[in-house]
């Protein structure tokens, strides 16, 4: 527990980790711009942001889950199932507006299922969601029957490609989602309860916090955000493949941890999650543009996470400051 201070005082106030990530992002952009003539242009910036949308939404939900001392390793496949629902609606030439509702709805329903298993069933989150991962995967297989949904109509794509007041819809949705999650976390009793549970479930219980309600709600919120992510996925790729979302959960967890949220719960940073996702996507895009084979990209991500967490662990082993001693 090195950076105990929460980034809670304002929407844009930043802590040490968040500054480091911002600097890392900017540094990466500068290096890539120098290294590749094709890097620094508006088109590529849009590509990077566009590639971040789904992971940002899933990451916000994952931040809440980790902050609560929970986790959901099945969340990528939840996106897959929501995407199938959306894809089926579009494939049957259904209204894109119906498709728009279907994603969050399926996400919320599956969030309820996950919550029922983990919260009501009192199964540890890692175990429960690992089990559900298998179940959901099989469900994806059964629903698709080996037949991808591909070449879906572009009605939803066109709907989400519009701008409102000059702002692209995806950016608007991300900003709104961030604001809502931030408010819930830092300005409502729910957020306090969630952080208290993440700190210690037993103490939270003794404080009279409605444990079940808070934990249930968090899984549902994460599900809804993932459902929205599915909507963007289908709109962008117009395709639902069997392996959809297979890497999303781990990517999201990586970004969230990179952002400074404790995997042990009780401490989180939404801004850190956003910067963590952006850093991952900037690296993925930039490395390819400067000619590093994509084969090496997971290595870069892995080294980054180990490096950041290792640095923090190492700095915790340094002699305690007075402040830290007082808490020890």
């Amino acid at each position: 527990m090195s950076a105990v201070r929460q980034s809670g005082t304002g929407v844009f106030s930043m802590n040490g980790r968040e500054w480091s990530l911002l600097v890392a992002c900017l540094l990466a952009v500068v290096i890539f711009s120098v290294a590749s003539p094709h890097y620094a242009n508006p088109g590529n910036a849009v590509t990077v942001l566009r590639n971040s949308v789904e992971l940002l939404l899933i990451g916000l939900g994952m931040t809440l889950l980790l902050a609560m001392g929970g986790i959901d390793v099945s969340i990528g496949i939840v996106m897959g199932l929501a995407a199938i629902a959306i894809g089926r609606i579009l494939g049957a030439d259904g209204s894109p507006f119906v498709a728009l509702v279907a994603g969050p709805l399926v996400g919320a329903l599956l969030g309820c299922v996950t919550a029922a298993v983990v919260v009501l069933g009192r199964v540890p989150a890692i175990v429960g969601t690992l089990g559900l991962l298998g179940v959901y995967r099989t469900a994806v297989f059964a629903l698709l029957g080996g037949q991808w949904l591909s070449g879906l109509p572009s009605s939803l794509t066109d709907l989400l490609a519009t701008t409102v007041l000059g702002i692209p819809v995806p950016a608007l949705v991300i900003a709104l989602a961030y604001l809502i999650v931030w408010l819930a976390l830092r300005r409502t009793p729910y957020g306090l309860h969630l952080l208290a549970i993440g700190n210690s479930e037993e103490k939270a219980r003794l404080s009279g916090i409605p444990l079940i309600k808070v934990r249930f709600m968090t899984f549902v919120i994460s599900g809804v955000l993932t459902g929205i992510a599915a909507t963007f996925y289908v709109a962008t790729y117009r395709n639902v493949e069997m392996s959809i979302g297979s890497t999303s959960a781990l990517d999201a967890i990586a970004a969230v941890i990179l952002g400074g949220t404790s995997i042990l719960g009780g401490r989180c940073s939404l801004l850190g999650t956003v910067l963590g996702v952006l850093l991952l996507r900037i690296l993925q895009n930039g490395l390819l543009l400067i000619g590093v084979p994509s084969l090496w990209q997971p290595v870069v991500t892995g080294v980054l996470i180990i490096g950041v967490l290792g640095f923090e662990a190492a700095s915790n082993r340094l002699p305690l400051t007075r402040f830290q001693r007082a808490r020890a």
Partner: protein, 328 residues
């Protein structure tokens, strides 16, 4: 829990097989065990097998795992052997573990052979091959050069870097390009894993990094939709041709939109037919000719006695003109 479910499903599938097998005990029986049941590719092989069974007067048994699990597959093969099915063909999931099963088949005088996916050192009777790695690699390059000319930059997007068949195809592409088209520039292969999301991101980045790129090859079928979508999103239809080893169902809309110029694969229906024909030959104790004219197939099947490979013929090329004739 999942593997439990899988076993139950596999077992029920087997009992069904046993029941149908018992019905027509007088005819010769040829079985085919796919890697996975319920997907269009193997459904097409099953259809071809059924057509051959009718033409040749044998019973065709089709049974396989519900998930690509090598252990389940071996169990199904072993069960078919125990039931006394006279010829059993397998699309092998794990080449290293099938040898003991081949032994037990031999001990009972049952012909065990491979089809679609081989286990070369297992002692199998014959391998019924859809197309050679070389044929697939060279065909896609030759077809591309017909469309974009020799003086072109071409990107390669593969799936998992560990997939040996995909790597073999890439190897033959590179060999063909070096041997026949010295001016052709094949970019280093990129690996997208299994998701359309990542394939699209990589394709987008490839086009950004290489403004002169003329074509992108989707090596893994899971990367086909991503490559096509990226070309559509980038507005490069007409200036960049997508292609790959993609089934007609996956590629249909992209072939029609122009994002894909053509795709290369084989016809699994014909492969299923050839598999059952080969099984009948083995049961009858007849040997294969160097070239086998078979009434139910479009082209003669060639036999390589040294390697023990019965080859369906050169790969098929699907374009917007013929794609609607296929359903897999």
């Amino acid at each position: 829990m999942l593997s439990q479910l899988r076993k139950v499903l596999a077992a029920s599938a087997l009992s069904l097989v046993a029941a149908t097998a018992a019905h027509a005990a007088d005819k010769h029986k040829v079985a085919f065990v796919p890697q996975l049941i319920g997907i269009p590719y193997f459904n097409a092989m099953e259809a071809g097998g059924n057509r051959a069974a009718k033409d040749l007067g044998v019973d065709f048994v089709y049974s396989g795992p519900v998930d690509t699990n090598p252990v389940d597959q071996l169990q199904i093969v072993q069960n078919l052997i125990d039931q006394g099915v006279e010829a059993v063909s397998v699309s092998v999931l794990d080449a290293s573990s099938i040898a003991p099963v081949v032994e037990s088949a031999k001990a009972k005088g049952i012909k065990l052979f491979t089809s679609d996916s081989d286990a070369p050192d297992s002692g199998r009777a014959v391998y019924v091959a859809q197309a050679t790695d070389e044929g697939l690699g060279t065909t896609i390059i030759d077809e591309l050069v017909k469309r974009v000319g020799e003086d072109a930059t071409i990107g390669i997007v593969s799936g998992e870097a560990t997939a040996s068949n995909l790597n073999a195809w890439i190897g033959f592409m590179q060999k063909e390009a070096a041997a026949k088209y010295p001016k052709l520039k094949l970019l280093a292969p990129q690996f997208a894993g299994g998701t359309a999301e990542r394939a699209a991101q990589i394709s987008g980045d490839l086009m950004a990094a290489n403004p002169d790129i003329k074509a992108i090859i989707a090596v893994a079928s899971s990367t086909c939709p991503g490559v096509a979508q990226a070309i559509e999103t980038a507005g490069k239809i007409g200036s960049v041709i997508g292609t790959g080893y993609c089934s007609p169902n996956t590629a249909r809309s992209y072939l029609k939109s122009g994002a894909f110029g053509f795709t290369v694969l084989w016809d699994p229906e014909q492969l299923g037919y050839l598999t059952v024909w080969a099984g009948k030959q083995l049961i009858d104790g007849k040997s294969f000719e160097a070239e086998n004219k078979i009434a139910g197939l479009d082209k003669p099947a060639t036999y390589d006695a040294a390697k023990g490979i019965l080859l369906l013929g050169p790969p098929a090329v699907f374009t917007k003109d013929n794609v609607d004739k296929f359903n897999f």
